[in-house]
Symmetry: D2
Subunit: 318 residues, 4 copies
């Protein structure tokens, strides 16, 4: 670890916003990415791994090890999520030889993601910032395999959950939590390190207008062209639903983890996940009034610097 350097691992279910989040993380100054761990979610685990290798090739990050993890939730379910990001999670646009650098298969490791997480945490105790922007299955497996794992982390930044009962994947639950409610419960209830959450409502309150993305793409760089291509599917879907823009949710967690000034307001509260509800299964439940005084508190983001987010997105695509 070099002076001033910060260590990161990012756990992704590589859909379009995960791709942007990866690009943002690799563009962050003084951020050293020890590993990218993969989970099922926006698409199958195998496709997620392929997507990650493709994004890393675009980012010229061919040295970063990539680890495959959970193929399904703790209960064995696989969520369906092709409506918004396409069958392959990246807008169903093929890798065109010559247009994109060929993904390296060597980067993909044999070691399962949960074990790599534990090993790296022991190698760098108290140093690693873990950014988790997919279903939390790998994180739940890691703490089940080694209960000391969370205490070895510096911090965890999660995109997931909701704080006002407004869902996207069910009436009242957010996609990542809904994809593995038990894993989300395990993380909220067993991770003792500082835990920061970019909830669905937080991210959704900062929709970026379509013309902002157009401006980014205008630079015509390889990265910008890549993003433009993979975003075409979801922007078409989104515009057909009359949305004025789009919030690349996973990027909010990366920006919060890498840019000290990004988060402008937050709440320290206890929170858990409903597992049993017929309507509310997977909803994050926030103890706003301190009824669970003995429960550890997490940090829920409530306001951010959207100008800074735009700047980060613009710069990383150049």
């Amino acid at each position: 670890q070099k002076e001033g350097e910060r260590l990161f691992i990012i756990d992704v279910d590589c859909g379009v916003d995960d791709a942007l989040a990866l690009m943002m993380l690799f563009a962050a100054p003084r951020a050293r990415v020890l590993a990218v761990t993969c989970t099922f979610g926006n698409t199958s685990l195998q496709q997620v791994c392929s997507n990650v290798l493709r994004v890393l090739a675009i980012c010229k990050q061919t040295e970063v090890p990539v680890y495959g993890g959970a193929e399904a939730s703790l209960l064995g379910d696989v969520i369906s999520a092709t409506h918004f990001f396409g069958l392959d999670g990246l807008g169903d646009v093929a890798v065109v030889p010559g247009q994109e650098p060929p993904p390296s298969q060597d980067q993909l490791q044999q070691e399962p993601a949960a074990l790599a997480l534990i090993r790296l945490a022991k190698q760098w105790p108290g140093k690693i910032n873990l950014v988790a922007v997919g279903p939390l299955t790998n994180l739940a497996l890691a703490v089940s395999l080694d209960s000391s794992f969370p205490s070895l982390l510096r911090s965890v930044y999660i995109m997931g959950g909701n704080m006002e009962g407004r869902g996207n994947d069910s009436v009242s639950a957010e996609f990542n939590f809904f994809a593995d409610p038990e894993a989300a419960f395990a993380v909220l209830n067993q991770y003792s390190c500082p835990l920061h959450i970019a909830s669905l409502e937080f991210c959704s309150s900062q929709v970026l207008p379509w013309d902002f993305f157009e401006t980014c793409f205008a630079c015509g760089s390889e990265k910008a062209t890549f993003v433009q291509r993979i975003m075409e599917f979801c922007s078409t879907v989104s515009k057909s639903e009359l949305n004025m823009g789009w919030a690349p949710c996973d990027c909010f967690a990366v920006a919060a983890a890498t840019e000290p000034g990004f988060i402008e307001a937050s709440e320290e509260v206890a929170a858990s996940v409903e597992l049993a509800g017929h309507l509310t299964r997977a909803q994050m439940v926030v103890d706003w009034k301190g009824r669970w005084p003995n429960k550890r508190k997490i940090r829920l983001f409530t306001r951010c610097d959207v100008t800074l987010l735009k700047k980060l997105l613009t710069n990383m695509m150049r």
Copy 2:
């Protein structure tokens, strides 16, 4: 029914804000109150009936029939709620002879509340506005006894439920819904008439400062003195929790039912109640994104004219 007259029945679990809601309803011009029906809730059914008679005496409304209803929830539970409004629901201040007019016992009817509701609805089909500001047990019993009951009402105004998963009686549920979740479910799912809801978050967003209440009391009228006395307990509790003021929740439902301009914004959405959750039992679940397209819609208030509310409160205490 006289020209321009509007017909009301109000169902209460007469705590302090129910008392204010009753006073507000009786002060409303052109409002004719056909009945006050009582339910357990803030205190026992018997005490609720006594409280109502006491408030009616203060309001010189000794002709309005009062009906006793549910003693417990559909499942047989009785909620405990003495923390905020005192053991008797009205701040534990005795009726002082000479200071308050003696309550009339004659007003209390033999007929159970649910049956009175059905009978009156048949007598005045399409005319009655039902304001329900306690647990919804009586309303659930009425529809169970006669499935045509809701269709005979003009409208129902409810204070209850929450729309952002922020509870007061549990981490994520509101008191009236939590007191009888099955009844709330039955009403949201079986009442076909226009249904208007003043949720906890809606009411809580309009806390009235303590000095506003002081100004009301300053007129020194019998009513103002009565309100000042019954509010002493809850204002002391509330101030000890460092609250800057208080929202008399039940009054929002009455104001919405009686004053056309009071509600400034609302949402037409489907909604239901979680019955099974371990953490979210009794939470109102709102279908913000139209995932339940075939479910009838209710109206959730989102913004109101707080100046008008203050005016109504000020005038009714004179």
Copy 3:
């Protein structure tokens, strides 16, 4: 009440076995039936009422008042149950003029079932044996409308629930409890009088062979012919499922209520109903090991005199 006479009310959702249960009750010596109350269940409430009137005509019981009750469960659901007893609950065989006496419409009362139950219990305090062989909605409404109702009964005999998690209407729940789980919960948790339960497993353990029924029908009486006709549908269904016979479940509750020697063994245990389970909703949960020491006990039948049952069935059809 004459010397030695016992008073009964029976609550039915008049399918085929309810029809047999009614016939058995009217054939019981010294049994005086004060009322038949009706609930939705095997078919719609309206059809249940018609069926009851038809059975009463066959039994020459044209003086017994009949009361309509719940049209749906407390939550507003109506169960579908036409697979076994046909659309009309009585095997879809029309009333043939000349073959059956015409049902009297005068017997059907205006008063809702729950209110009739309360009124009669007050008229005959401590005297009435209530036999409930449909969904328990009317019983739940009665206790909600008047919490003293159960204490005014002599005893309640229920056909419903299960004691080994073996369901018929879902994997682990019995039809009557599944049709209104909240009502079953309310009865098991609020009825303080002696409560006797003929569970599904108890009744199912005493399947009567097909040739037994043939023998009954052989007498050729009006009643026997009626039973033969209404049983044709369900016996055909049952034989197609390779069943060796059929247990007319509701008759077990009537036999237990009317014949002192019928029940040969039973257990005194606490029991409740699961309301929240995804797989087990409506399952009766029995506290075999005394973990709920403060909960009142009910009596679960475990063994009966099947020879006596056959004798009762044979005699009542003559």
Copy 4:
């Protein structure tokens, strides 16, 4: 693998009956035990590992590798179970130097249990019989880490779950399933290999009388004396509850796995686990009537040769 040899792994939460099960497995002819994997349950994981080493020393099995596994359930809970087997799970009788051989610490491996399970299954594909007689967390972790794991096993024998809703650790759930309901769900729903279950009701129906155990102890061997000592605590508790004997549940799974003639009757049915119930959480739910036709079937034992069981117990203590 030698000719005629059968391969086993046993997963234990080493209480008294696990100790007997281990002894029975090591006494089985032609059984080769590749590993003992440990889980929390009757006592802490650390204590379970110590207990296993102690039992292996008694059995002169100092070459078998022992692996530590889950410290808590998938959701992070640790069940309390000291009532019956004592604080240390083995009756709180210390290892007395001279009386017992000293446990070897070398046998305890670094590799986590779930990983050892996966590695060994890949090494012996289609060969391993896995006997699981504690909470099923290690088995759930193994399938989460590698979804092919169950397909590599020859068979799984489980002591756990219940089939008539009769619980021991809650009103309707069995201890091992209750200790990690989500893990039990994952195993019943994701293990595609032949799955055999010795349920609580099955084992409890074969209580062995106290004098049988006395006879076993009479031989005075080192093993018999050990069993006598560790059984003193639970037999005292059990006798104080007026039980006529005791069923060493975990031994039923081992006997079924090792002795072809032990199981005399069984049922092939689909089954799952209730996760959401308020009263029935962790109850095994059995589809006796084939309502889940597309769900894979498991084998539930219903009758066994208790004479053979006694013979196995007698012989293994010699």
